[in-house]
């Protein structure tokens, strides 16, 4: 590995910055680290040190922060968290022994201190390249005692962005979903990792298919409070709620990226067709015109194309249509029952569920041009409703592999499939989004 030498002038400048700025990101070193990493791929081996603290109260906070950071980094699936080697420091509080870190395979060391100052909690974190011994980042996170989780997650965002060079959208994201916890299907929302579950509807009917707008301001869903499946659109801040209020069904909304409109299936004209609808519940325009069911729209990141399910070729298959016009192109040819498309945030992939001959429903991923089909779940009963994390690294889905319907997450390549959290009742129809 190449180790570049800092000039004395550069070092002095860095020292001055360190004295005056709470946040120091050593951009050059970080870029160099990322460039070297790319040749290797694999998970980034990190030693996450215990946060140092003096008193009992501060130690308690430090352990809480450590838990948040550890589970946050672990959740991303891009880190391999190594236990700290015994001889990491020659004495408590002494300098880091990078040789010891290297000997356990660590690429990155991170650790910090927790202090209290006039009622405020200060977390000072440092990140080192364990191979070169260079400091990559030094930053202070401050907040109230009640904000420990958000402080820990802010550090996770910075670390992911530092080491991957990509914007980290994961830790501020939310998953909306349907749960029968109350005895009725209602809409709930939780943090990316299943924490902080909040019940959003109390319809005591059947509430289904939540979808949050790209700007994070609205949530749309379908429920039966009117006696039939109608679509509701709620401003998350003001709680003002509009409905479509058309005869027939109004189901399965999906927001169009780059616009303030959603697409949903309506049947007031007789056939189940997809329409664009405004947040006030009025119809903007009709998008599909084929006889039979058209349902479950999902848009490309730029909003120019729509994947959707259509019965036009007999059994349900996924089609892609350009919103500027032109014929819909059939995307899926393998399998007789392909539904629930979800277009990746990167734009290159579409994930969907397929009812297979053996009776299982499994999740598949295909390139947006129809090539490169891969099966992501298998041999684990039904796996449905795939939804991308906003950063495109992960997919949330519903699985009944353990009996009841529960929410799961996996990496986008199908690895690391695990339950998101434990909650009473069934959970289904996860929808992952950024919420302001």
């Amino acid at each position: 590995m190449k180790i570049s030498k800092n000039s004395l002038a550069g070092f002095s400048l860095a020292l001055i910055c360190m004295l005056f700025l709470p946040f120091l990101l050593r951009a050059e070193e970080a870029r160099e680290y990322i460039a070297i990493r790319k040749q290797g791929a694999g998970r980034i081996a990190v030693v996450l040190d215990r946060t140092a603290a003096k008193s009992g109260k501060e130690s308690e906070w430090a352990r809480s922060i450590d838990g948040t950071i550890r589970s946050g980094l672990d959740f991303t699936g891009i880190f391999n968290l190594l236990p700290a080697p015994m001889n990491m420091r020659s004495m408590p509080g002494g300098p880091l022994n990078f040789g010891a870190l290297n000997s356990v395979g660590a690429e990155i060391y991170t650790g910090g201190t927790m202090t209290k100052q006039s009622g405020q909690v200060n977390l000072n974190m440092e990140v080192y390249d364990a191979l070169s011994g260079k400091q990559l980042m030094k930053k202070q996170y401050s907040g109230a005692e009640t904000q420990l989780r958000s402080m820990g997650l802010r550090f996770c965002v910075d670390l992911v962005e530092l080491l991957t060079g990509n914007k980290c959208l994961l830790f501020g994201s939310k998953i909306s979903f349907v749960s029968t916890k109350s005895g009725f299907k209602e809409i709930y929302m939780c943090d990316f990792d299943g924490q902080n579950v909040v019940q959003l509807t109390n319809t005591r009917s059947i509430s289904l298919t939540p979808a949050v707008s790209p700007d994070g301001n609205y949530i749309a869903w379908t429920d039966y409070t009117s006696g039939r499946p109608d679509l509701y659109i709620r401003n998350l801040a003001t709680k003002a709620t509009a409905s479509v209020g058309k005869p027939g069904v109004s189901i399965d909304p999906s927001w169009r990226n780059g616009s303030n409109e959603l697409a949903t299936t309506l049947s007031f004209e007789g056939d189940q067709e997809i329409y664009l609808v405004r947040p006030n519940g009025t119809i903007s325009r009709r998008l599909t015109f084929s006889r039979g069911i058209d349902v479950s729209p999902s848009f490309s990141p730029d909003g120019s194309k729509m994947a959707f399910v259509s019965q036009r070729s007999g059994m349900p298959q996924i089609f892609v249509q350009d919103l500027q016009g032109g014929a819909a192109r059939r995307l899926t040819f393998s399998g007789n029952y392909n539904t629930q498309p979800s277009w990746s945030p990167g734009g290159d992939k579409i994930v969907y569920s397929s009812l297979q001959k053996n009776g299982e429903i499994n999740i598949f991923i295909v390139n947006a041009d129809g090539s490169g089909l891969l099966q992501l779940t298998r041999g684990a009963r039904d796996n449905e409703s795939p939804s991308w994390s906003p950063d495109g690294r992960m997919i949330a889905f519903m699985s009944n592999r353990q009996g009841r319907k529960k929410l799961f997450v996996m990496n986008a390549d199908g690895s690391n499939q695990r339950a998101l959290f434990q909650m009473d009742g069934d959970q289904q129809q996860p929808s992952w989004s950024i919420v302001r």
Binding site: I206, L208, V249, I251, I293, V295, S296, M315, P316, I361
Partner: protein, 159 residues
């Protein structure tokens, strides 16, 4: 084949016991008309006056009305013609296979196909309303073909 499902009648009545504003009887057992109310639970016996509108059943991913279903719909139409003031809601249901959203659309097509057939038999469309429950309200909670066959249905409710 008659859709004579003795186990279902009792189960239907249990469902009805929790449904105060609507009455309904499943099965197509016309020879035993009134069977539904005979086997009904005491809690609901007073409100079920014996209208027998039998369910009709569908093939997988289909909303086509089969020959058997046409027979049942003719019997349902006959009852409706003799109770001309009675409005009827047709519920469309699906089995648990397939996916939730698609099944709500499919359930609506099933309810609509039953409605359209009744209209061709002379029933006024103004007396008929439809609602799709997709796979949300399975009649039989089982996870096998026997249960699925019972769940792919149009169900008729008098108001």
């Amino acid at each position: 084949m008659k859709h004579t499902l003795p186990g279902i009648v009792g189960a239907a009545m249990i469902v009805l016991a929790g449904c105060s504003s609507k009455s309904a009887v499943s099965t197509a057992d016309q020879t035993g008309a009134g069977t539904g109310s005979d086997t009904g639970s005491g809690a609901n016996a007073g409100t079920v006056a014996g209208p027998v509108l039998g369910d009709i059943f569908y093939g997988f991913d289909s909303s086509a009305v089969s020959t058997e279903s046409q027979e049942q719909l003719k019997q349902n139409a006959a009852w409706m013609q003799s109770h001309a003031a009675q409005a009827v809601t047709i519920e469309g249901h699906c089995d648990e296979r397939g996916t939730d959203e698609y099944n709500i659309a499919l359930g609506e097509r099933r309810a609509n196909s039953a409605k359209e057939y009744l209209v061709t038999l002379g029933i006024s469309s103004t007396k008929l309303s439809t609602v799709s429950y997709g796979e949300e309200r399975p009649f039989d909670p089982g996870h096998n073909e026997e249960a699925w066959a019972k769940n792919r249905r149009a169900h008729f409710l008098t108001k």
